[in-house]
Symmetry: C2
Subunit: 400 residues, 2 copies
Amino acid sequence: MRRAVRERSIEVAGFRFGAAGCGIKPSRRPDCGLIVADVPATAAAVFTRNRFAAAPVILGRERIRGGRLQALFVNSGNANACTGAQGLADARRTCRMVAERLGHVGRPRRPLSTGVIGVPLPMARVERGVAAAADDVSAAGLWRFARAIRTTDAFSKVAVERVRVGGRPVTVAGIAKGAGMIAPDMATLLVVLVTDAALSAAQARWLAREVAGGSFNELSVDGDSSTNDSLYVLASGLAGNPIARRHSELGGLREGAVRVGEALARMVALDGEGATKAVTIEVSGAPSVRAARSVAESVARSLLVKTAFHGADPNWGRIACAVGYSGVDFEPPQVSIWIDDVAVFRRGAGRSGTAARARRRMKRDEFRVRISIGRGPGTARMITSDLSPAYVRFNSAYTT
Amino acid sequence: MRRAVRERSIEVAGFRFGAAGCGIKPSRRPDCGLIVADVPATAAAVFTRNRFAAAPVILGRERIRGGRLQALFVNSGNANACTGAQGLADARRTCRMVAERLGHVGRPRRPLSTGVIGVPLPMARVERGVAAAADDVSAAGLWRFARAIRTTDAFSKVAVERVRVGGRPVTVAGIAKGAGMIAPDMATLLVVLVTDAALSAAQARWLAREVAGGSFNELSVDGDSSTNDSLYVLASGLAGNPIARRHSELGGLREGAVRVGEALARMVALDGEGATKAVTIEVSGAPSVRAARSVAESVARSLLVKTAFHGADPNWGRIACAVGYSGVDFEPPQVSIWIDDVAVFRRGAGRSGTAARARRRMKRDEFRVRISIGRGPGTARMITSDLSPAYVRFNSAYTT
């Protein structure tokens, strides 16, 4: 669904952002984004678990080990996935181009990539894009960068929080790309969090894991987890806070970063290709967190549930059915289901006379489905979308 | 998709079939089916693993233990699932009605049920349906029975094979109901296999497992496994063959029954709500059968793959991506993918110039996707359908 977002100017000390269109996308829209750190930033990342990791993911895993990064180039319109040795060579060459253009030769930088799987990168165009994006960088360019990394996204995804670390004001800004092919264990997402906080490399890694685990791993738009999912954290250190001695001193930063992550995750769910609703599935009373998660995933991924969401059809039978085949053990008479505040199913049986009220909740852009399956301590949450005919039409004709 | 099936008359010695419309379906179409065995038949069954097993499944599990069955009543239009104690009482009462009407009091019979989940059975109508179906039974009524158990099925599903057991000609006929909500571990299927072979109860159980494991567990239309899935085998013994001493003597019967099962499974895939294609996913070279099955399921369930099937889009990147997130370990350079005979992806890289030929294969009603992920011994097969806008439209407005 389209969503109007007011583009407030966002700046994060120590970072400049650039964008360019180099013709990788046939539409001629911007398809190259570049983030440049004025000083080498502390960096960490979390990547897709897909075994067909794309070339930029393979390279990213290798290079993030150093914990420092000074430039991050993103092209959209081509994922450079399943492109074999050539893809990896192209990713390395892209890195070299960026370094040469920025005068960073010998310093760490990182390419990301997104778009159609399996098509080799058009390197002549990439070279032009690197040059143009490098010429474009400015401290005020964050929204331009956000637009450039979009593929099928209906809108740009940006969120920002201001928190305090060690007594100093700190900014955390997040930029995300992602719509279709979203699943747990990372949506098809490219997420970059930039902050002016000073962090150690270990703290940046911790923050990346906290943000990934707390929001993006709860997303399930179509159950397909992609070859390119990457979440980067870049910290310039220009806020001037002293490096924290322990993670507990970074509670405020963690909360701010997770809020940024959650805001971006909801934007991605609402932007699911052809999606009209973002639905949060909350499971409680499971024997364990793992069991709760299995139930939430089973419901969030069910085509019959997602089509019922689309039609605002309070068909709790489909939800109960998906709970039933989740592989989790429970006693049917202990299961209850709510649509927002409407208890449609109590202790194993449907409640008559609730359909009209539940339907009104389901006509909203966002609603919750709460499922209690017993008295255990396990809880979990998933964010999903409805499944519309537009999704199918859109995805039936993607490369053609 | 609609499919013309020539309704050849099928008779199986020892069985009579009846149908009636009693108003459970608002459409007034036939909604009650009854199979009567002239002598108590040897019987076995395989049921859904869904924890919300419907009342007829709960009752069926309990009563099948005796290994004999003389009547099987099926109503469509109401699943009697998630209906609690009332549902179970209604299922028991339906059994009693059937027994009284047929003069079988004290003998074993079995109810099945299918349709909308969560609505209590309208017992007054069921009583009329039992009476009318009992009056209707005849040896030639198999197709009438097949029509009566349909819910959203676009066509009746019947298959028959003639084989020899112990030197005697034997008939195996199968009747299935199923379209939407199909997943492995039994499609939302009601399948009844009737044969005039003489079998022990243990042989009937073995045959039911062989048929379920070899065909219906390979079906994945929308990944939702239902509350009511049941597969029954009824054997009248009237073919007069001697009871086999070991399963190996029943190889011909097993093959015939599995062929009946496969034919019915393909009919169900082609009848997937809004489906236009039946696609067989074949995986080889996996470390184990279990791993091969995970890969096949991951591909068969991917929305992006199923929408690409609908658009005849040879987007092997989506197939590779689903292989990649299946959780199975493999080396990307060892993976190859074929669309029928067209190798679109060889040893980890796409093959250019194959798209047009692959697209022609994908425009057919049925095609295969073969995936080799290495040199292991594990193979698996799944039958799936494409995902069309019609599926979503249909399922967005099911109870409304």
